[in-house]
């Protein structure tokens, strides 16, 4: 295992243990900025870790980022590791980051579905869901992006436990989802929520479960336009943006529909690279470019959140 986050290889994919070790190194190297919270336990009793970046204060407004909720989307967990190091490296010299951290905290959950992620490394690289076993179903796992209490069980999710988009027996049945729900509710002051997936190069905002536009549609669309322009400016990666239901399809029980309905106005989902050559098997040499371009888009959302307190 690397001895410091400076020798960690950000241009490679890593196992769950290596990522958890990275987190501990980052906390140990930056005790005045980074701490590690355990917000719950997964179905197979793995800890659900969230990194907190804070310059102090208590219960300050916060910016949430999660990666890896669909375990096979490896470029997202790898990007999450890169974001964590970037925040530490730039928290004083980057104007957006420095000003955000002056008044807000950042929460980053890198491995949101550890059971599924461990399974992709050991048994089935293509695994997407959680690893829960619910009575009455012959198949394992629930799609953690269909399990939220927002249009739960509606069309755009499957009631078939063997489907990749199985919504689960009831909303928040998955401990990985429930842990975030409880954290968001108990914190009560999260102002932006970004859930990162791959692939197909999209920046999406609510809703997915209904065609009714969100009240803040105009603002979210404008933010998306600026964020995508920033992302594309680095390597020319083309993104589409819009609401989930108009840009891809109807999806019920989705993360950011729930967070938006909790009052977190700046709720977004990214679908990172690939354009259609490798799919989920994006070569490791594309991790850093994908993370770098995504970071530019995240900074646009951070700046807007900072400039528009609510």
């Amino acid at each position: 295992l690397p001895l410091s986050t400076s020798t960690f290889d950000y241009s490679s994919y890593h196992t769950l243990d290596e990522i958890y070790n990275f987190m501990d190194l980052l906390v140990a190297e930056n005790p005045n900025l980074v701490s590690k919270l355990e917000i719950g336990r997964s179905t197979e009793n793995r800890p659900l870790y969230v990194l907190k970046f804070s310059k102090g204060g208590s219960n300050r407004p916060a910016f949430w980022i999660d990666t890896g909720i669909h375990s096979r989307e490896w470029v997202t967990q790898a990007s999450g590791v890169w974001f964590a190091k970037k925040i530490v490296q730039d928290h004083e010299n980057d104007q957006v980051l420095a000003s955000l951290l002056d008044t807000m905290d950042i929460f980053l959950e890198i491995v949101t579905n550890p059971d599924g992620f461990a399974f992709t490394h050991t048994k089935n690289r293509m695994w997407r869901k959680t690893r829960s076993k619910h009575s009455g179903s012959i198949c394992v796992g629930v799609d953690p992006n269909r399990n939220w209490d927002a249009g739960f069980g509606g069309s755009g999710a499957s009631s078939n436990p063997c489907s990749e988009t199985y919504h689960g027996p009831y909303a928040n049945s998955e401990p990985e989802v429930k842990a975030i729900v409880d954290f968001v509710k108990s914190h009560g002051n999260i102002k932006a929520f970004v859930s990162i997936h791959s692939y197909s190069q999209l920046l999406l905002y609510p809703y997915g479960y209904t065609r009714t536009p969100v009240p803040d549609q105009k603002e979210l669309h404008e933010i998306s336009e600026k964020a995508v322009a920033a992302l594309t400016s680095l390597y020319g990666t083309q993104y589409k943006y819009g609401s989930i239901i108009t840009t891809i399809y109807q999806a019920s029980g989705g993360t950011i529909d729930w967070t938006y309905d909790q009052g977190i106005k700046y709720s977004f989902t990214f679908e990172l690279r690939d354009t259609g050559r490798y799919g989920f098997l994006l070569p490791a040499k594309q991790i850093i470019p994908a993370a770098e371009e995504t970071w530019l888009a995240l900074q646009v959302i951070m700046q807007h959140t900072l400039d528009n307190p609510y």
């Binding site: 994919y13 690289r125 891809i248 799919g279 098997l281 070569p283 490791a284």
Partner: protein, 95 residues
């Protein structure tokens, strides 16, 4: 560990409502064990589907019989997985 020797990922871009409908119907053919990496979303939007080796021929015949064109995005999934594993091992040795 599950292996994916001979699995291919096909890319289908439905260009008509009828084609989109046909592709959506594939999602119900459970015995083909198709894994939709990108689900059918709309006209002109790619559908990427991982096809286990035993289902390759039947699916290709079905698509061609319905005049639905497709391309092969990944010739052999297992080959890419092995490259990925090799790369990870190389990195951990570098570390």
């Amino acid at each position: 560990t599950e292996t994916f020797v001979g699995h291919q990922v096909l890319r289908i871009i439905p260009t008509s409502d009828e084609e989109l409908q046909k592709v959506q119907e594939l999602q119900d053919l459970e015995d083909l064990q198709l894994d939709f990496w990108l689900e059918p979303r709309g006209l002109g939007l790619p559908v990427d589907v991982r096809v286990p080796f035993p289902s390759l021929q039947p699916l290709k015949v079905h698509l061609e019989a319905n005049g639905i064109s497709y391309s092969i995005m990944i010739e052999d999934v297992q080959e890419l997985l092995e490259q990925e594993q090799t790369e990870m091992l190389r990195s951990s040795r570098r570390g």
